[in-house]
Amino acid sequence: MTVIQHKPVNPIAHLSAEDIEILGKELDAIRDRVLAERGESDAAYIRKVIKTQRTLEMSSRAVLLFSLFPPAWVVGTAGLAVAKILENMEIGHNILHGQYDFMRDPKIHSTTWEWDHVSPAEQWKHSHNQLHHTYTNVLGKDNDLGYGIMRVDEDQKWYPLHLGQPLWNFVNACFFEYGIAAYDLELGRNLRKGRHKTPEFRARLRGVGRKIRRQVLKDYVIHPLLSGPSFLSTLAATFTANLIRNVWSHSVIMCGHFPNGVETFSKTSIEGETRGEWYLRQMLGSANISGSRLMHIMTGNLSFQIEHHLFPDLPSKRYQEIAPQVRALFDRYGLSYTTGPLPKQVASAWWKVIRLSLPNRAVARPGTDERPSRALAASGV
């Protein structure tokens, strides 16, 4: 992909400023319809998922106390991996977005929730909810584009360091929660700018340190110790479960904004952006994953990334419901709704990481047209 303003054929050139505002109003109407219905079924749903997750996690950990016995290892590890995925994706991510704040239950609320992750919820909410969701796919503003360590857009400058990015991406996938923690700390930037000694940064670092200590103590010390003779096999099991969770969430998240068909935007293009234009950017900047109901739950409904980015605070199970309406809007406004099965989207994202590890001229690429289109200039996008 390349910044939408530089594309030879601009995918939104046919939309007038007025079209974009009407599109925004139509999306607002979808949101209002969901809000009018939101209530008991959403509360019951998240409580059920939480109960299922907690039951699964504790029973898997109990089974792993006997992990020397191979079937127990397999069942316990699989159960724990699924529990951790549910906890991070369908529960943690969505509660931390405030999707269930409407319930006014202090136990299930974005301000009180803490998740099974080394990045403290508070720091993640800032970098994810505030920066990524506001500046989605704006080069130089949205650090999710390559997480600051990779080049995922032709318009990002190439450095020799990028040659290694397929490897960085693989390592990041395996230890994704640590990658996220470093990302939420803006570790690289803060180190480069010498800000690592400020009291504010040190306090955040301590917060991450505390969280890592607790997570490591639980998974790699206490639980194995409680397993007695199964110490080593339980250690291997919790490590494997964390690895599976990390690779899975990394894959799902790569599919959200990296696959082919997703657009990026230049920094200047969002100055004075209207609500309609913000919606349009979310529509073009995200990609979905098609699949079964179970797949949607296991991705925390981030398989409906487009719907999630349009309405990040609607309860996640509503995304599937409104997807046909959202898709109809894409059709009506002549926009392309990017979606595909998981393997295809993961492959597409990985291919981009590999392709862009080389400088632009090394790979075939359509000619660049630097002239911004008239419609874009008019709409301000």
Partner: protein, 363 residues
């Protein structure tokens, strides 16, 4: 949820050590988050109760019998309990008088709820509550109680659901120890909550009951009390009912110079009347400002120099939420009104909420 339970540092019992070990396994949750799934009413849990029976009293009132959790510390007759119930998935807190006598062998308590027109919570409790529902509770509160010993002569002056705290007192044997007169107003005989029981007490001679059916005879005026209960000003009086009635009663007793003999209970002392804009108070910062109905509270607060948490400023990141202690706000995106009664602490997104009346915000 990572907050650990504070505990005394001095002695570490086996139980404490086990608890600490359990916390290292359950982090980032607490052991209680798991125990709540199986034993929500156990000792040490946050105070909750299970509804074990719902019995209709009148066509629009019902008594809920609640089995409180082990943490319940009991109540004094006349006190109320704050009860949190999920209505349409949203937790709502309301206060209701305890109508059962203290010390039931099964530990249960009851509250009696009258459905008020358009009352979301009261209608849910009276008409749609299912047995088995778990409700959140606070410990009993309130000083609308009989002293010990009970004064020799007592007047209960009540209207509508105002009979509920008085019923708690009568069931605790107040009438057997004193000369009790009950003056109660309700629209019709059938609308008298606990009508049968009150009439039975009167028939036994335990109380003197004066019923006023306001549909036929109109509202009771304080000036009528001289005829109905000639010695009313000499009696220790407990009054509970609508605001208008209580205002009139207080004036009457004060004018006679015996305000100290009158005890009143006001439900919903603050009436939230939503409007456009209003006065916003940041309670901890001690800052008060006037905000119009079109300006987000975040902007208004910042303009007045308050140190407001903020984020995306468009309602998506939840970086700006603050507790609304009381008052009403309107969501600028869709016009939804959110109200909070004193003690509620409803969390609102200040970047998309404008004042819709007087608001107290915890900042």
């Amino acid at each position: 949820m990572t907050t650990t339970v504070p505990r005394p540092a001095a002695k570490t019992s086996v139980r404490d050590r086990l608890l600490r070990l359990a916390e290292t396994v359950t982090t980032p949750l607490l052991p209680e988050d798991y125990l709540d799934l199986v034993a929500p009413l156990r000792a040490g849990a946050a105070l909750r109760g299970r509804i074990v029976a719902v019995d209709p009293e009148t066509r629009d009132a019902a008594t809920l019998t609640i089995q409180p959790g082990r943490a319940w510390r009991g109540h004094r007759p006349g006190q109320y309990v704050r009860l949190g119930i999920d209505v349409d998935g949203v937790r709502q807190w309301r206060a209701y008088s305890v109508t059962s006598a203290p010390g039931r062998p099964d530990g249960r308590i009851s509250v009696t709820v009258k459905a008020i027109p358009d009352g979301r919570v009261s209608n849910h409790l009276v008409h749609r509550t299912r047995v088995g529902t778990i409700v959140q509770l606070d410990q009993a509160l309130g000083d609308f109680v009989l002293p010990d010993p009970v004064p020799a002569r007592v007047l209960f002056l009540t209207a509508g659901s105002g009979i509920t705290p008085v019923m708690g007192m009568l069931r605790s044997g107040a009438a057997t120890r004193a000369d009790v007169v009950v003056v109660h107003s309700a629209p019709t005989p059938d609308d008298v909550v606990f009508g049968a029981q009150l009439r039975a007490l009167a028939a036994q001679g335990d109380i003197r009951l004066v019923e006023r059916h306001t549909d036929r005879h109109g509202l009771l005026g304080v000036d009528e009390l001289a005829d109905l209960v000639p010695d009313h000003l000499d009696r220790q009086t407990w009054a509970c009912g609508p605001v208008g009635m209580l205002d009139a009663v207080q004036e009457h007793w004060a004018a006679a110079g015996v305000a100290d003999r009158l005890h009143t209970e006001r439900f919903r002392p603050t009436v939230i009347a939503p409007g456009e804009g209003g006065t916003v108070t940041f309670t901890r910062a001690g800052l008060t400002l006037a905000a119009d109905g079109g300006t987000p509270i975040l902007d208004a607060g910042e303009a007045a120099g308050a140190l407001m948490p903020s984020g995306c400023r468009m309602g998506i990141c939840y970086g700006c939420v603050l507790p609304l202690r009381q008052g009403a706000v309107r969501d600028l995106r869709d016009g939804t009104l959110t109200t909070a009664l004193p003690g509620d602490g409803v969390l609102i997104q200040t970047c998309v909420s404008a004042a819709a009346g007087t608001c107290d915000i915890d900042l």
